[in-house]
């Protein structure tokens, strides 16, 4: 199982790098789908079968389809590299260093697998539904209302003035 974890973790990291490094937008989007599927496999290895398939259905099967569709509609072929971002020039390197230091500290201070005591996994359809519709019903519904508002806003913005 550990070997499978490392294989798919490597796949996820390589695909993630490709999302950033690819010049053509469609390729970036496709590599992002690979990242999502690799993460779904990691969920499977953790025993969260339900989450794994929901991940594929929602992210890879619905959201990314819209991304790919929009890229195809705009027919974006090549991304021109720009050197205009002053912000990235000055802050990029320090931020990367800060992130690496942070990761290094986190890995260094990890007590090891023997000391970690994960709570029992509750990731089946029943327990997820139970959590969403009993314990967290208010945040859940508020989030859905928020998304609805965002959709309405997008529709209003996109509507042509007649």
């Amino acid at each position: 199982m550990a070997i499978l974890f490392y294989i798919f973790a490597a796949v996820a990291v390589i695909a993630g790098l490709n999302v950033v490094l690819q010049r053509r937008p469609v390729y970036s989007a496709l590599w992002l789908i690979v990242v999502l599927c690799a993460l779904a496999v990691e969920y499977l290895l953790l025993g969260a079968v339900f989450m794994a398939f929901i991940q594929i259905i929602v992210y890879a099967g619905a959201i990314m389809v819209l991304f790919v569709l929009v890229i195809m509609l705009l027919n974006a072929h090549h991304e021109e590299p720009t050197h205009g971002s002053q912000f990235a020039q000055w802050l990029g390197a320090p931020l990367v260093v800060a992130l690496l230091v942070e990761i290094g500290v986190a890995v260094w201070s990890w007590p090891g697998a023997a000391h970690v005591n994960p709570p029992p996994l509750r990731a089946g359809p029943k327990s997820v539904g139970d959590l969403l519709f009993h314990q967290y019903v208010l945040p859940f519904e508020v989030t859905s209302a928020l998304i609805l508002v965002a959709i309405l806003g997008a529709v209003v913005l996109a509507r042509k003035e007649s």
Partner: protein, 353 residues
């Protein structure tokens, strides 16, 4: 030692099951094509394929050979990687979903219980939906990568269509899931055992279709749209798009799209049978071996009926206009799906109170 033998037995069992199921599925796909040509010909007062073998029975083989030996043309300005990837993706995804379809009960062999299913996933239905939801990419990318106008239109149309109808497809099934309380495709069939009685006489089998007629209607219409079949076959409208998303594909790459479409039809029909028509359930009689084989026969017969219905519709109905398709999907089918879910949950809540 016993554990070792158990693991070996499981491996051999799985490999044998996978080989048999794939062989049956590929043959079925080939002969559904033959059946379609024959039935549509019959509807149109023609003979259909007749010369290769008796009644044209070897026609699928001849077609396959023809596809293999044809020149494989790659369009010059195509995005080569994606152009190659799309048909393989379509083919692979179409065959993945058969892994969780149960096609019979279980039987004893050498002291082991063998289930007639490659693997019984406890979220089998979600697995099928996950795999089919990825199928959109093959069509969209095939249309895009050829770098040609008409395939692009076909690809865009089909992506929009498949996203729209996927919602209704899922909603149609939710009612059944609420009744049976499981996502396992084997578990969905178990509550459908037996009959409803009127005055002590068995009258109707307890199939979900009689409890969820609206759900079935929504599911099946959405399923036809998902598989891009008439009257929803706009992605390949040959009269306006030359051929649709696969216009620039030739030879075996075209055949792979073709096979994928029919394999998807088989999958969708299997799901309809399992969810709404009692799966492999049917009258059982005779000795033990017959009791093992009969459910498989009932299952295949039910799936065959759906496939025949698909072909029948193709011979009968005209194609939708694109705006009609979208309006129907969003303004009729989706609300009906919601209505069904709401109604079912009210009834369940009322029965439980």
């Amino acid at each position: 030692m016993a554990q070792f033998a158990e693991a070996h037995f499981f491996l051999i069992e799985s490999v044998v099951k996978i080989i048999v199921v794939l062989f049956v599925l590929l043959t079925a796909v080939a002969y559904v094509v033959w059946l379609e040509r024959k039935v549509v010909a019959r509807i149109q007062s023609r003979w259909g394929p007749y010369w290769v073998g008796p009644h044209g029975l070897l026609q699928p083989l001849a077609d396959g050979l023809k596809f293999l030996f044809k020149e494989d043309i790659v369009v010059q300005d195509a995005d080569k990687v994606i152009y190659w990837m799309a048909p393989f993706l379509a083919f692979t995804l179409a065959f993945l979903s058969i892994a969780v379809i149960p096609f019979g009960g279980s039987f004893q062999l050498f002291g082991h219980t063998i289930q007639l299913q490659i693997t019984d996933l406890n979220v089998g239905l979600l697995y099928v939906f996950a795999v089919t939801s990825l199928g959109v990419y093959s069509i969209a990318l095939a249309g895009w990568s050829a770098n040609s106008k008409y395939p692009l239109f076909g690809g865009l149309r089909s992506s929009a269509q498949m996203i729209s109808y996927e919602l209704s497809l899922g909603l149609g099934v939710v009612g059944v899931l609420m009744i049976s309380g499981t996502l396992s495709l084997r578990g969905v069939v178990t509550p459908q055992v037996g009959f409803w009685h009127i005055a002590g006489i068995p009258f109707l089998p307890r199939w979900n279709v009689f409890r969820q007629p609206l759900g079935f209607l929504v599911y099946f219409i959405a399923a036809i749209a998902e598989t891009n079949r008439i009257p929803f076959d706009l992605p390949e409208g040959e009269t306006e798009l030359v051929g649709g998303f696969h216009t620039e594909y030739s030879s075996f790459k075209f055949a792979m799209f073709f096979i994928a479409e029919y394999a998807n039809m088989v999958t969708v029909s299997c799901l309809a049978t399992l969810l709404f028509f009692g799966g492999w359930l049917g009258p059982l009689f005779g000795p033990y071996w017959l009791r093992v084989i009969l459910p498989v026969i009932w299952f295949c017969l039910k799936v065959f009926c759906f496939l025949f219905f698909y072909i029948w519709m193709r011979g009968t109905l005209p194609r939708f206009r694109y705006d009609q398709l979208m309006a129907f999907g969003w303004k009729v089918l989706l609300p009906l799906g919601f209505l069904n879910v709401l109604g079912t949950s009210f009834v369940i809540a009322w029965l439980h109170s």
